[in-house]
């Protein structure tokens, strides 16, 4: 069972109080994109065994979307952070680096 702390209301919410929103930090392709890029944007998702960045919504609580950095293998949660960002904040990246040196995920490391 995942327990994620919602960064908006501070509640330690268990999985059943949340809604999974899939992969985080996806860049929207739009008018002018190539067919390949648009297809990737719509359908291609990472499915790592290890560090992953996701969107979750505190659906039964404050209703806000937020971001989570966690490990899909051990279920360790590195941290949760605001939805108002296009990349993982430095303190989250440092925390992951401390535990998993040399990690990378998409364009982030």
């Amino acid at each position: 069972m995942l327990i994620l702390t919602c960064p908006y209301c501070g509640v330690e919410a268990d999985e059943t109080e949340l809604q999974a929103g899939g992969e985080a930090h996806i860049k929207r392709e739009t008018v002018g994109s190539s067919d390949e890029d648009f297809e990737d944007y719509l359908f291609a998702r990472q499915n790592p065994k290890g560090i992953h960045f996701e969107r979750w919504r505190h659906v039964y609580g404050c209703g806000k979307w937020f971001h989570v950095a966690r490990c899909t293998n051990t279920l360790e949660v590195f941290g949760t952070y605001s939805a108002q960002t296009t990349e993982p904040p430095q303190d989250i990246r440092d925390k992951i680096s401390g535990k998993r040196p040399g990690w990378s995920w998409g364009i982030f490391s």
Partner: protein
């Protein structure tokens, strides 16, 4: 004017905790910038209580203000006062970015009373209800079995719980079932 009645009209159940549908209650949703003095004053002015901190509810009798999310409050009043109070808040905030809605008829309210009231809630919500983690004054939006609900403690032995009116019957049945004599867990 129609004769307003609450969903279960004060139905009660005496289990190892006492369950009571609380009847009609005035509820106003107020969304806006909660750091704005104007928004704060509009809420506290209508409910005559202090402004709640994050995850808290301040209430006295039927009046109160609950912190619902970083941009949402629930203002409670006696049922008959809700419409005029909502209109007054809307007028006060006419030039402020805010949303005010009288949602009284969309909700149901329950009391769960008794020394084991905590146990009834703990059976139904994914919330740590140990006495050192959930105390009077704290407010929690969560789910109760399969439906959204919110609750807080009036005092050490009284929970007040709100849910959507459309699921009032389901929530009452849940609470009664969880409070069945003989089903005490004794966790706290």
């Amino acid at each position: 004017m129609s004769n307003a009645v609450s969903a279960l009209q004060a139905k009660t159940y005496a289990g190892f905790a006492e369950i009571e549908e609380a009847g009609l209650r005035g509820m106003i949703t107020l969304r806006g910038d909660l750091s704005s003095t104007k928004v704060k004053n509009a809420a506290t002015g209508a409910a005559s209580v202090d402004f709640p901190g994050m995850g808290e509810c301040n209430c006295v009798d039927e009046k109160g203000v609950a912190w619902m999310s970083p941009d949402e409050l629930l203002v409670m009043t006696p049922y008959a006062d809700a419409q005029p109070a909502a209109e007054k808040i809307a007028k006060t905030l006419a030039k402020t970015h805010a949303l005010v809605a009288n949602v009284s008829d969309a909700r149901a309210v329950f009391f769960i009373r008794g020394p084991n009231a905590r146990e009834v809630i703990a059976k139904l919500a994914p919330v740590d209800l140990s006495p050192d983690r959930f105390k009077p004054g704290q407010f929690r939006r969560t789910r109760l079995a399969q439906v959204p609900a919110a609750f807080w403690m009036r005092d050490a032995e009284t929970f007040e719980l709100i849910c959507f009116r459309s699921v009032a019957g389901y929530v009452f049945d849940l609470l009664c079932n969880a409070a069945q004599p003989g089903s005490e867990v004794g966790a706290f």
